[in-house]
Symmetry: C2
Subunit: 101 residues, 2 copies
């Protein structure tokens, strides 16, 4: 049973596309830097739903120990240092996945 971590971000008013691009650059470094990441997907909301958040991150790892390694990794902490000042709101959850379907 693998573990999936989800984080949704709503940006504060005035956050620019250049700032979001900086977030994406920081996140792009993580799969290469954190071997515990079995899969990593992120991106800007497409604007096709009602009252959606602005950005999503999904990290797939083997379990709780791997999740903690990701969470505490210096490159992830560096990305959070870029993300946090831009946030109006954050929503997150971690749940078990079967690994398929």
């Amino acid at each position: 049973m693998a573990l999936r971590h989800i984080a949704l971000f709503r940006w504060s008013e005035g956050v620019t596309p250049a700032q979001v691009a900086e977030v994406e650059e920081a996140l792009a470094r993580l799969p290469g830097a954190i071997p515990q990441l079995d899969a990593y997907a992120y991106g800007a909301d497409l604007g096709i739903g009602a009252d959606t958040f602005d950005f999503a991150v999904v990290a797939d790892v083997a379990g709780e120990e791997a999740f903690a390694a990701y969470r505490d990794h210096p490159e992830h902490q560096a990305a959070l240092g870029i993300i946090r000042p831009l946030l109006a709101e954050r929503a997150s959850a971690q749940f078990r996945t079967g690994g398929s379907d």
Copy 2:
């Protein structure tokens, strides 16, 4: 470029494990009923993060047309009919995924 849909739920006070089990049963029917679902994962939050939501759903589809087919499918609407009365809060986003990494 595939599309990933995420929905996070925070249950209202007083929602019972039996009611959450009903939600899971309704969601379990969807991969068999909705051919547009390339992958479907959902589950209760593990309680290992701070201020997390209570439940997560992740749907992977080919694109916007497939997402609309999922969203509007009668079995999905039936599941929403079970979920909505239990909700204190919902967070969602749709973003493009490369299909791998």
